[in-house]
């Protein structure tokens, strides 16, 4: 058995951790998170696979590190309902609805209808003051998006950490909205091949 060698992409958990830390100091770093949003979608649409989840997802690696190597995970099985398509797609829809709500708030600030809120909303409910991370260098609308997007990233990380502790280290992957979305895209792109494969197996 060969020992699997480490690649540069096995260290992307550093990027994920740095992202969360940088957001504490300057909220504009939140824009870097768009990479984690568009890269998996681009890979799924263009190449038709989940290479992002499989190889490049820094968050997954971070949960593995915390749960597996640091032993913070209890490694219990996730409840069956979390694995179902209903829950996964339901969570995706909920997450997207919250995302659209965040975009709408950003639009309101852009149009001048609402003042910018220097706060990070955790778990879509708790508003945490975050005024130290913004020094007024960009228009309020752009900063509002940064606050909103960082809220999304922090919320999903907190949820992931909670399930990492209670269940298996990467249990976030089971209901990760990006994972669900890219899997759905991959299915639509490759359904011909998948059906053919299934038929050949069942024969």
């Amino acid at each position: 058995m060969k020992k699997q060698s480490k690649h540069w992409y096995d260290y992307l958990y550093i990027f994920s951790a740095a992202y969360l830390i940088l957001g504490f100091f300057n909220i504009l770093f939140a824009y870097l998170g768009l990479i984690c949003f568009f890269t998996p979608l681009a890979i799924a649409v263009i190449d038709g696979n989940k290479l992002y989840c499989n190889r490049y997802c820094g968050r997954g690696q971070l949960f593995s590190l915390l749960g597996e190597r640091l032993g913070l995970s209890s490694k219990r099985d996730v409840p069956k309902f979390i694995k179902t398509k209903y829950f996964r797609y339901g969570f995706l829809i909920f997450f997207m609805a919250m995302f659209i709500n965040m975009l709408f708030n950003t639009y309101l600030v852009f149009s001048g209808a609402r003042d910018m809120q220097e706060a990070v909303t955790l778990l879509w409910t708790f508003k945490l003051p975050w005024n130290w991370a913004y020094s007024g260098t960009v228009p309020p609308g752009l900063a509002q998006f940064a606050f909103g997007f960082y809220s999304v990233m922090l919320t999903s990380t907190v949820l992931g950490i909670i399930t990492m502790i209670i269940f298996k280290p990467r249990s976030w992957c089971v209901y990760c909205p990006m994972g669900t979305m890219t899997q759905g895209i991959c299915y639509l792109r490759n359904r011909g091949r998948i059906k053919k494969e299934e038929n050949s197996v069942s024969k």
């Binding site: 058995m1 696979n49 989840c53 593995s64 996730v78 694995k83 298996k168 249990s171 991959c186």
Partner: protein, 70 residues
């Protein structure tokens, strides 16, 4: 003909989230993600070590004994 019992990994494709955790831990690269939709085990390579089953966050991999004629 002699019959052997061997352990192999089986994936419940219906619930697989194709995250790739199993691919990362497999010591002999016997598992891969098929079209980004589910994990597929190469049964001719799999030795049934159970690392993938342990790592799978959705716990959809099961190690089962199969009978093989040789």
């Amino acid at each position: 003909m002699a019959e052997f019992r061997r352990k192999k990994a089986f994936v419940d494709k219906k619930y697989c989230v194709s995250c790739g955790c199993c691919v990362k831990v497999c010591p002999i690269s016997a598992i891969s993600i098929y079209c980004g939709v589910y994990a597929a085990v190469d049964k001719s390579k799999c030795v049934g070590c159970g690392k993938c089953a342990k790592a799978c966050p959705a716990s959809v991999i099961e190690i089962r004994e199969v009978r093989e004629a040789q």
